[in-house]
């Protein structure tokens, strides 16, 4: 059979299928996907390859997989397959319109709120979710914002009927927003309220106190954990302390949000002292301490590729190069967008942060992992997600070119073998107004 025909047929099928947000009909049990290339993210790229999927699980990937009679063959022609992309830190689903307060569920009040759970408040019908999906994102870590310990995040898949079926992993990480450590050096007379001026010494004191508070909070949490373990029948559970338990037991990583080099160094030392497993998020200045992070095996979620250089002596392209510097030192890097409302509307562009990093020294394979395998490993779901490998979920996308090229488009998406629509508010409005009749002049 000439190849062209298969592709045409396939496209027809896909077009029909893609009108539903999640395809309701049963998929054939076993499907063989043929593509121009499969980028596995853990075992390199295989050209002219096939991927055999049964019940949403990858059975095999190779160049010579023969379909049985029951196998449905999907020939994707010139398209290239990549694992579904994972947005490592987002407020996706917790926000709709930045300026409309009523649509904001990103940020809670209080310094220590470990019992806040972010994923439970994801709006499954947020218009921002399909927009992220349209550029290849199948998963996002939804994390809480607010005070110092803001709560726990959950990993969601970006398609589903409700929060419960979208949630892939609850309690994925505990979030600790490291206190600001830089001095406010603005002279007293330039402050709007000069009475609030604090000298550098006073600021240092206040900062040390705040750092101590974090230590103290974890100490108290540990005391709670021990008391709970002692098994007193009259032991009274406290929700906030309960929220700390997974992180204390090492089951859950602590994600430390910090940008400034001093925060990063202090946080790493703190984690080492307590033997906590941490992931660094935001990480603007991480490149300055790449060796330290490599030595302490702290993975980095970097969302500052497009941040302007902070110091007047920084090279103009330092943040374009930062991920490459970290990788070269041996640090595991994931790319992301900034947390909050603005970042949530721009998840689709995380791919181009990684792309820019490639142009400035990050190896292409590491860049692909920064959007797939690395976040999956950081969130401890790499047994299911993050690469196209036998026994993992068939969660993947088909792209009509290089995913790191802006001109390329994601054409299809599957999550655990299910075909997912790439339609969004944007494509709907596009179709609508593309078809507006030409104005009669």
């Amino acid at each position: 059979m000439p190849e062209g025909q298969t592709v045409n047929k396939l496209i027809l099928i896909l077009l029909v299928a893609s009108t539903l947000p999640v395809q309701a009909q049963e998929q054939p049990q076993t499907v063989l996907y043929k593509a121009a290339a499969i980028h596995t993210a853990d075992k390199g790229t295989i050209k002219n390859a096939q991927m055999l999927v049964t019940d949403g699980i990858i059975q095999a990937i190779g160049q010579n997989i023969r379909p049985t009679r029951q196998t449905k063959v999907v020939d994707l022609g010139k398209l290239q397959l990549y694992p579904g992309l994972i947005a490592a830190t987002t407020s996706l689903g917790l926000t709709e319109i930045n300026a409309v307060r009523a649509t904001q569920d990103t940020t809670e009040v209080g310094e220590f709120t470990p019992d806040v759970e972010a994923w439970v408040s994801v709006n499954p019908d947020s218009e921002l979710i399909p927009v992220a999906r349209a550029n290849g994102f199948t998963h996002a870590l939804v994390a809480p914002m607010g005070g110092t310990i803001t709560g726990t995040s959950g990993l969601i898949k970006l398609a589903g009927w409700g929060v419960e079926d979208m949630t892939v992993k609850t309690h994925a990480a505990l979030h600790l927003w490291w206190p600001v450590m830089t001095l406010n050096t603005r002279p007293k007379e330039t402050l709007r309220d000069p009475d609030k001026y604090k000298s550098p010494k006073e600021q240092t004191k206040a900062r040390d106190k705040k750092l101590k508070t974090i230590d103290e909070f974890f100490n108290e949490a540990e005391a709670y954990a021990r008391a709970r373990k002692a098994g007193d029948p009259n032991f009274k559970k406290v929700p906030a302390w309960e929220g700390m338990l997974p992180a204390l037991s090492g089951k859950q990583p602590i994600m430390v949000h910090a940008n400034e080099v001093r925060q990063i160094k202090t946080a790493v030392a703190w984690a080492k002292r307590h033997k906590f497993k941490i992931v660094l998020a935001a990480s603007r200045d991480a490149w300055q301490v790449a060796d330290l992070l490599a030595k302490e095996k702290v993975p980095v979620i970097f969302d500052n590729v497009f941040t302007l250089p902070q110091r007047d002596t920084d090279p103009h392209d330092i943040h374009f190069r930062a991920a490459g510097i970290l990788h070269k030192a041996g640090v595991k890097v994931a790319h992301s967008e900034a947390m909050g409302s603005w970042g949530a509307s721009r998840v689709r562009n995380i791919v181009y942060a990684a792309a820019k990093s490639i142009a400035h020294g990050l190896p292409r394979e590491a860049a692909l992992r920064s959007l797939t395998l690395h976040p999956a490993q950081m969130l401890d779901v790499a047994d299911r997600l993050g690469s196209l490998t036998q026994n993992k979920e068939a969660t993947f996308i088909a792209v009509d070119g290089d995913i790191f090229d802006i001109r390329a488009n994601v054409k299809h998406m599957w999550i655990a073998g299910k075909k997912i629509s790439l339609q969004s508010r944007h494509t709907r409005l596009y179709e609508k107004y593309k078809n507006r009749p030409k104005l009669n002049k």
Binding site: E127, R262, P309, D312, S345, I358, H426, Y433
Partner: protein
């Protein structure tokens, strides 16, 4: 010149003053019980007398009679009168009493002009704008005056001069005997008064009641929320006030000829500006502009408005010494030098920037730097610790200021500036007996204590001759005294000019073997060549080779791509002192061109992404914003040399949520307009007013018209001379805006952002407005919920001229990749997509005759790329403007390294200085004061931050 009428009047006045003083001092017998006055005859003998800078008499005697210097006798010369009280001043040095030309007194002491301009949040207007219900009648003060509270030139320091004796004691302790006491508040601040710093009746202390007018680039009034609250707004007010004053004078003359017509108002503010604007014998005006770029702007403004200016220096002049040379007026120079801060921890030093270290290292050199091309007078202004004055002058002398120059700057120069050379400034016969006496042979050695000062023949002993101590840490100060002062180290800080300006400036350039994206009719030329001569493209083709005698550069560009320099149709990246004058609903009179920031790092960063031209726009806080400025990124050039002089003028308009203050907080409900209905109504109102204004200008039967800068700018739009760039989001608001403009015969230049433009692409194309869009921003406000990344392609497909803009100092670094999004979303061809950031914005700005494509005759603005310009993997290798190379990636890292090395060296120097250096808290915190040019936040994104409180 003294021959002028005003000069003569001053002289007459001074002579009159003299007569009265003589009679007072000679004849006064105080009532019993009061301490009798000493006789007024003294002989100060044996001292080293510095008659004036450069004239020193050793062991001379000064004779004082009735407050005047009667004679200066040489050593050994006889003639001490019998009635004189003789003072033996051997071992002491006598100078003419020092004069501070810029002294502010009292609890409302003037701070140096602020370098912090906040984003406007309140829109309560002081100007009588029809339809603004919150307009207050009294403009923040009672009584007649100008409509803007900051314009108070009628204010006279002389009218309320009553100095605190303690403050005067402190000034005398430095050697000061007289000062021009300045007004402290507003923009036009009023006239200063020249006064003696003695004791007693203010009537007697004042030498010249009204010296000069004072102008400050400052919005600080007690009610600071009104117009203006941006730097460009202040400059607009300075201009408009002058035009209003001129009109006021004209109307008074006109009224005499037409007594039956409308009676002109009485306006004391405008009346007070008469001497400043007089055709001859102008009163001088001291301008404190607060920043180095604004010093130059003040000079330009002074020329435009016909002022006779004196400038107040900022200490930042090291940033632009060449620009200072263009200033042709004297400087009043503060000696505020930042000191090394005390930081609690070693790691805190990471926060110290190169710019701050440079400012610290350069500061003591500023007086010498300014003295090279200008007359200077020194002042204590801005010095919160006046005791540092002498020490700082000593440091200025170490760094190149000559002692005689410093002395002149304390005596003869301020006397000249204040028009009082007949009375003070030297120790010559007939002058007032104002003396500064110091132990030892020089005042300029801060170790030498002040002995006393004499003011108009009255002796003021220095009553507190203890060693000076720092305020902050007394113990340390005492230890310090014993130590040997460290020798001054030479300056390590470099000039910013060492790191900017063209890298190559050849006469001719030939590029060979490149893929050339002409963005013109030639399309893409593979293996192409371009020849450039004198900044212009002279040939585009293939296989161009240099002639035998070729004076220039040949670039072999095999594998590389060449595109036109990228153009950003919406930028705020190089603006000083506030992007919005958001106080009034129409601020058509303010100009971005007045406040271009040539010092920001954004220029280099954006050049490094291939950007060569930017449209600097006012913000979107009001329906009619300010006038824009198109610039080229000629890195290193001062503001006016960045301007794209051929670009037609334009203006920023805005619609929707921003102008109706939707996201400004719940209290902002009273400025008109609050709805999109009101926005349309407002435009109709202002354009009708402007049309009326234009019509009235043609009439001869009416009273002389007031020049109205707001309506003038809108009138230029109606006349087709000014392009509208209108921030617009929703389709309905764009439609009615186009229709409203059409009613006035106006074609819109660009719809900016134009997020829902794709819904009315045909209407936009039919109107002929350019569509300058975001590539893919959405969802940050309700009005962008329908924004889609396909918008650019959709509008392009329907015939609109589409560009992608940045509105962000980040995105402006990678506009080529923004263009790639038009390929991705909606399938615009690559060639057309590249035009979204080259030819199309050039068309929209009406500059496509010069830039936007690589065609013969156009400016040689181009970028060399390592590969396909729309690929994320491509790097910008070189950026050229008008045949000069401004960015070269291969040189960028050496540049960065040199900056790091300079910082490291400066940091070492700073830390080597004893951290317990004898400095005040104020001097230490001044280290962190940022120059206005460097005060802009590093905000990546203007539009997205704006909606947050």
């Amino acid at each position: 010149m003294k021959s002028t009428l005003l000069g003569r009047a001053v002289l007459t006045f001074l002579v009159g003053l003299l007569v009265s003083l003589v009679s007072l001092q000679a004849a006064e017998i105080l009532p019993p019980g009061q301490r009798p006055r000493p006789l007024g005859v003294h002989a100060l003998s044996g001292a080293r007398v510095v008659v004036k800078p450069g004239t020193v008499l050793e062991g001379a005697t000064i004779l004082i009679r009735n407050g005047r210097i009667q004679a200066v006798l040489h050593k050994g010369q006889v003639g001490i009168p019998a009635d004189a009280r003789v003072w033996d001043l051997k071992g002491k040095t006598i100078y003419a009493g020092f004069i501070d030309p810029y002294l502010s007194l009292g609890k409302d002491k003037a701070k140096p002009v602020s370098n912090r301009w906040t984003v406007p949040i309140d829109a309560r207007a002081g100007v009588s704008f029809t339809g603004v219900p919150t307009t207050k009648a009294d403009m923040g003060r009672k009584g007649p005056g100008y409509e803007i509270a900051g314009v108070r030139p009628e204010h006279r320091v002389a009218a309320e001069f009553s100095p605190d004796p303690k403050e005067l004691t402190a000034l005398r302790a430095l050697g000061f005997t007289a000062a021009n006491v300045i007004p402290t508040e507003g923009i036009y601040r009023g006239t200063g008064t020249l006064a003696l710093l003695g004791e007693g009746n203010p009537n007697q202390l004042i030498l010249r009641p009204d010296t000069v007018q004072h102008l400050a680039f400052s919005s600080t009034t007690k009610r600071a929320e009104g117009y203006p609250n941006s730097l460009m707004g202040v400059i607009a007010v300075i201009r408009q006030t002058v035009f209003d004053a001129q009109h006021y004078y004209t109307m008074q003359a006109w009224h005499k000829a037409h007594p039956a017509d409308a009676r002109p108002e009485y306006n004391p503010s405008l009346e007070a500006l008469r001497p400043v604007l007089a055709k001859a014998g102008k009163q001088q005006i001291i301008i404190e502009s607060g920043s180095v770029l604004m010093e130059h702007r003040a000079q330009v403004l002074a020329t435009e408005l016909g002022f006779n200016p004196i400038f107040v220096a900022t200490g930042q002049e090291w940033r632009r010494p060449n620009l200072m040379k263009q200033i042709k007026a004297p400087f009043i120079v503060p000696v505020v030098f930042p000191a090394i801060p005390e930081l609690p921890e070693e790691v805190d030093w990471n926060q110290v920037s190169l710019d701050q270290l440079r400012g610290w290292d350069w500061a003591p050199e500023i007086p010498a730097l300014l003295r090279r091309d200008h007359a200077i007078a020194l002042t204590t202004h801005g010095l919160s610790d006046r005791k540092a004055f002498r020490k700082n002058i000593a440091r200025a002398i170490e760094r190149g200021l000559k002692e005689d120059e410093a002395l002149a700057a304390l005596t003869t120069e301020p006397a000249r500036l204040m028009g009082a050379t007949q009375l003070i400034g030297t120790l010559e016969k007939g002058k007032l007996a104002n003396l500064t006496i110091v132990n030892g042979d020089s005042w300029f050695n801060p170790e030498n204590e002040i002995d006393s000062v004499w003011i108009e023949g009255r002796h003021f002993a220095h009553d507190n001759p203890k060693p000076e101590k720092p305020d902050n840490d007394k113990k340390d100060g005492q230890d310090e005294k014993k130590k040997e002062e460290p020798k001054p180290t030479p300056r390590l800080a470099k000039s910013p000019d060492a790191f900017r300006g063209p890298l190559l400036s050849p006469k001719n350039v030939i590029i060979q073997n490149a893929t050339i994206w002409t963005c013109g009719p030639e399309g893409v030329i593979t293996n192409g060549s371009i020849r450039i001569a004198n900044g212009r493209i002279v040939e585009v083709g293939r296989n161009l080779n240099p002639p035998k005698s070729f004076d220039g550069i040949v670039i072999g560009a095999k594998g590389m791509h060449v595109t036109p320099g990228l153009i950003d149709c919406h930028s705020h990246s190089m603006i000083l002192g506030g992007v919005n004058e958001g106080t009034l609903p129409s601020t058509a009179m303010v100009r971005i061109g007045d406040v271009v920031n040539s010092e920001t790092g954004n220029i280099y960063r954006q050049l490094a992404g291939g950007l060569t031209t930017a449209n600097l726009l006012h913000g979107s806080a009001n329906p009619i914003g300010g006038q824009n400025q198109v610039i080229k990124l000629r890195h290193g050039a001062p503001p006016d040399a960045l301007k794209f002089t051929n670009a037609p003028p334009g203006i920023k308009f805005a619609l929707g949520e921003n102008v109706k203050q939707s996201n400004w907080g719940d209290e902002k409900t009273t400025r008109f307009p609050q709805t999109r209905m009101g926005v349309k109504t407002f435009f109709n109102n202002r354009f009708t007013a402007a049309r009326q204004y234009l019509a009235d200008q043609l009439r001869e039967d009416v009273a002389p018209m007031r020049r109205n800068l707001e309506l003038e700018a809108i009138g230029e739009i109606i006349n087709g001379k000014r392009l509208i760039h209108c921030h617009s989001y929703r389709q309905d608001e764009m439609l009615i805006f186009m229709r409203t403009m059409e009613r006035f015969g106006v074609k819109i230049g660009t719809l900016q952002h134009v997020l829902e433009g794709y819904k009315i692409a045909d209407e936009i194309a039919a109107h002929g407005a350019g569509a300058s869009a975001f590539s893919d921003w959405w969802a940050y406000k309700f009005e962008v919920y329908d924004a889609i990344p396909y918008a650019g392609s959709l509008m392009h497909a329907r015939g609109a001229v589409v560009s992608f803009n940045s509105d962000s100092s980040d995105l402006a670094r990678r506009m080529n990749l923004e263009a790639a999004k038009a390929v991705k979303y909606g399938g615009t061809s690559e060639e057309d997509a590249l035009k979204f950031v080259t030819l199309n914005p050039a068309k929209q700005l009406h500059i496509d005759q010069w830039v936007g494509s690589l065609e013969v005759g156009k400016d040689a603005d181009f970028v060399l790329w390592s590969g396909h310009p729309l690929s994320t993997q491509t790097l910008c290798e070189q950026t050229w403007i008008e045949g000069y190379q401004y960015y070269d990636r291969s040189k960028a890292h050496a540049r960065a390294k040199a900056l790091v090395a300079e910082r490291t060296a400066l940091l070492a120097k700073a830390q080597k200085k004893d951290s317990k250096e004898n400095a005040s808290v104020a001097a230490r915190s001044a280290f962190f004061l940022r120059a206005l040019e460097k005060a802009h936040a590093l905000n990546n994104c203007y539009e997205c931050r704006k909606v947050k409180p």
